[in-house]
């Protein structure tokens, strides 16, 4: 495991599972969101916040449970996968109605899946790239024909690619489905005021309506973390997601509030441009920066960094320092690998050996928010001693994405929100031509085992393959992973029944106010 992964004092966070207080019927829960979700269209949505709202209004074929295990949601069981892995048959719940009262059936599933796969603006196309055909077998069965065996498919179906939209609404709204989404869910979309709030109401047609307690949820967008915390303290909101690490302690100290944590799937670190010269999906080429050219210098750079210190100063010790893209509790992790610790002496040696004149200029792009800027400054300070002269260049999110993909950067702070299946954390990110392979990593030692693993159903075998991938990636060092982030959900003590798992999405379907 990673050095000192749990060494820092974490706030005592109670899991939601442990909360088995009785929940009374009725009430409105106001929950603060940390950013404005994009359009609530499962096909096009790309934000984490969108996924949070979808937990209330758009159920999926599959879901994960508290242990990050895949469980059926709109399906009745895990799918039947043919021997060759190319046919996946899914049995659907019956008697389910969309929130507009229309019936949920295999035809609807087909329509949604096809839209995810083919709609020109869909962001799910790559998720379902392996799916060749969707067939309705009978009203409660669909059959997916794949072009190749693709084990991560079920995990994809446990996310937005598995969300089923009302065909009637799709027909009526078309491109604008996201402005007025209708799915199966404990709540139905009611209204949205741009940049301010999203309101969902208890869905009368929900198949498991008896478990739903709240009448209404108001998702209130409060971007500023301090304000989010302040609103929680003042009682204006009863729950607030993604508390900033700087505000967790304050919320916890409040006698009326408590904090639970979730997440850990995501990975954050820095991308070093080693081959992205024309764009991440284009052919790689040599990059003319000291770090881009020299693996030794990259190693020296990594050796200059102290992950624990970063966690402590930047994140109040509330995150999980790590050097692997895979979550700490992932069964696919390579248990034998350890992370490097800060070693200035060795780093200096490597620098000396490289023969590059110090100070070595490094341009580090960071997203222009306070926390990332702090991270940038800490990296700058830590690597100074070794002989790097890091200039921190904050850049706004929009520009950053564009420049990352285009390869217009030397080094950048970047992150990935994480997926349940390891494939989701690697493919597209460090394989040749991956859309999000900003670093421009192109190595057969990574690409090949990754492809193989996706086609393999056996978990142990996959684990070995992924170990190869991460091992090689660590050697190439196009990406230096620093930590997994945790989500801290703050809420009033009388709020109960929230389910909060590793994906960091607070599930409010069964939430409500404690009976006593």
């Amino acid at each position: 495991a990673c050095s000192g992964g749990g060494a820092t004092a974490k706030p005592s966070v109670s899991g939601a599972a442990a909360d088995n207080r009785a929940v009374k019927n009725g009430g409105t829960l106001t929950m603060a969101l940390s950013a404005d979700p994009d359009a609530l269209d499962p096909s096009t949505s790309v934000t984490l916040l969108g996924r949070e709202v979808f937990t209330s209004i758009c159920e999926k074929l599959y879901d994960i449970d508290a242990n990050s295990k895949l469980v059926p949601q709109l399906a009745t069981a895990l799918p039947d996968v043919s021997k060759d892995g190319k046919t996946v048959t899914i049995k659907l719940r019956s008697g389910v109605k969309f929130n507009d009262g229309t019936a949920f059936d295999a035809a609807a599933v087909k329509k949604s899946l096809d839209r995810h796969r083919t709609y020109k603006k869909s962001a799910r196309i790559s998720d379902l790239a392996a799916v060749q055909k969707v067939d309705v077998v009978d009203p409660s069965t669909v059959k997916l024909t794949l072009s190749r065996p693709f084990t991560p498919l079920i995990a994809q179906l446990a996310d937005r690619a598995g969300m089923i939209m009302s065909p009637k609404a799709l027909d009526a709204e078309g491109d604008d489905f996201g402005a007025n989404p209708v799915c199966v869910g404990p709540f139905k979309f009611s209204s949205r005021t741009s940049g301010n709030q999203i309101v969902v109401d208890r869905a009368p047609d929900y198949y498991d309506a008896s478990k739903v307690k709240l009448d209404r949820i108001v998702y209130k967008i409060i971007v500023d973390p301090n304000v989010r915390a302040a609103n929680l303290k003042s009682g204006d909101v009863q729950a607030a997601e993604e508390l900033a690490t700087t505000t967790v302690a304050g919320v916890q100290a409040d006698p009326n509030l408590r904090v639970i944590s979730g997440g850990g799937l995501g990975n954050y670190g820095i991308d070093i441009n080693i081959g992205n010269v024309k764009g991440s999906t284009e052919k790689t080429g040599p990059v003319n920066t000291p770090l881009g050219k020299s693996p030794e210098l990259r190693q020296a750079f990594e050796l200059s960094l102290d992950r624990n210190a970063i966690n402590k100063t930047v994140y109040n010790g509330l995150y999980q320092p790590d050097c692997s893209p895979l979550p700490l509790d992932s069964p696919f992790r390579d248990k034998s690998r350890t992370c490097s610790t800060r070693d200035v002496a060795q780093a200096k040696q490597l620098v000396a050996k490289s023969g590059v004149k110090t100070p070595i200029p490094v341009k580090l792009q960071v997203p222009n928010d306070a926390t990332n800027e702090r991270l940038g400054q800490v990296i700058q300070q830590m690597t100074k001693e070794t002989g790097f002269d890091v200039s921190v260049q904050p850049i706004d999110f929009a520009t950053g994405l564009e420049q990352g993909a285009a390869g217009k950067f030397d080094v950048m702070v970047s992150g990935w929100s994480g997926r349940v299946d390891p494939d989701g954390d690697l493919s597209g990110l460090i394989n040749t031509g991956g859309a999000n392979n900003y670093a421009g990593v192109s190595d057969p030692g990574i690409d090949d085992p990754m492809k193989q693993a996706a086609a393999t159903a056996d978990q142990a075998e996959r684990a070995t393959l992924y170990a190869k991938v991460t091992q090689r990636a660590a050697e190439v060092r196009g990406n230096i992973y620093l930590y997994h982030n945790l989500y801290y959900l703050g809420m009033a003590k009388n709020v109960a029944g929230i389910r909060y798992y590793a994906d960091g999405l607070p599930r409010l379907g069964t939430a409500g106010f404690a009976a006593k």
Partner: protein, 319 residues
């Protein structure tokens, strides 16, 4: 008078047209492709292209401008790329918020600024004058956002008198609305009050030393009507002009104030839209701001004309 308004309208139309071109080009000059932002970091190139096409971003600029301007003239500003909500609808939600904030701030500013200015001018060189002038200078020098932060620190964090931030619509909960708007309005109004105070004071000193005030005194009028009728009436033209000129500052201030107090108004919308490269929203918001700005200045001109008989009759402002 009608001619005067007509001519002003003509000039405003030209400014508006050039302004809209500037807005349009400015938005396009922003680095960062909105399609990339929309598609997010999981995007496929084809999705990006599709989005670009959808928003007409693949067209030549004049065509894009023509389309946008043509629709905007009919009140159709397109849909927010962020949430697909029609921009017109968003404006309808946000505008009243900012207007409420601005009005409250204006009430604070005019109430405090004009009163203090008049008092300072009439008590020139006395304690009240120094206090008011001091306030004027300090009010001018303190940045809004710091004042906002201090306000939150004092009234919300330390004293717990007022809620830190947020907004509830007036229609839903008038009390809560005012409670939340109070601090932002005070913060926004302070700088404005300072400017008004200084200008009122200076205008009042001008009119108090004018010959006609001496005439009024020579008539044996009470000081109250000398100051309140003769001097103030003539200073009002200045005050009105300053109000118009300060409108820009007020809007600028609103941007920051809304950001600090998380008020879902125009200012916050602007900053958010810029961050997400929400072209239709940025364009509409800035355009509406400019229209509003021009419109208010037009109103100010008219008010000026009404207050100043010279202009009223000849139709020419000489100030």
């Amino acid at each position: 008078m009608a001619l005067f308004i007509l001519r002003r309208l003509g000039a405003a139309a030209i400014v508006l047209f050039l302004g809209s071109v500037l807005v349009f080009l400015g938005v396009r000059a922003l680095p960062g492709d909105p399609a990339v932002v929309l598609a997010g970091n999981e995007a496929s190139p084809s999705a990006i292209a599709a989005i670009r096409h959808d928003y007409g971003l693949d067209q030549p600029l004049p065509v894009q401008y023509g389309r946008w301007a043509g629709k905007a003239l009919q009140g159709d500003f397109g849909k927010s790329t962020q949430d697909l909500i029609p921009v017109g609808h968003i404006l309808g939600e946000r505008l009243p918020v900012t207007i409420e904030l601005s009005l409250l701030a204006m009430i604070v500013a005019v109430g405090v600024g004009v009163t203090a200015g008049v008092i300072a001018a009439t008590r020139r060189g006395k304690l009240a004058d120094y206090v008011a002038t001091g306030f004027g200078l300090v009010g001018l020098s303190v940045p809004h956002f710091w004042l906002g932060i201090l306000g939150i620190l004092l009234f919300s964090v330390k004293l717990h008198w007022l809620p830190a931030s947020g907004y509830v619509p007036f229609t839903g909960d008038p009390g809560g609305n005012l409670e939340r708007m109070l601090l932002p309005a005070l913060v926004l109004g302070t700088g404005f009050a300072a400017v008004l105070m200084r200008q009122t004071r200076s205008a009042m000193l001008d009119s108090l030393s004018a010959d006609y005030v001496r005439t009024a005194r020579s008539k044996g009028l009470a000081e109250r009507s000398v100051v309140g009728v003769h001097a103030l009436r003539n200073s009002l033209t200045t005050v009105v002009t300053v109000l118009g000129l300060q409108l820009g500052a007020l809007i600028s201030g609103a941007v920051v104030t809304e950001q600090i107090f998380v008020i879902p108004g125009f200012g916050k919308l602007t900053v958010d839209a810029v961050a997400t490269r929400n072209y239709p929203v940025i364009q509409a918001v800035v355009l509406v701001t400019v229209v509003g700005y021009i419109a208010v200045n037009l109103l100010v001109d008219i008010a000026y004309a009404l207050l100043n008989p010279r202009v009223r009759l000849t139709g020419v402002a000489n100030g």
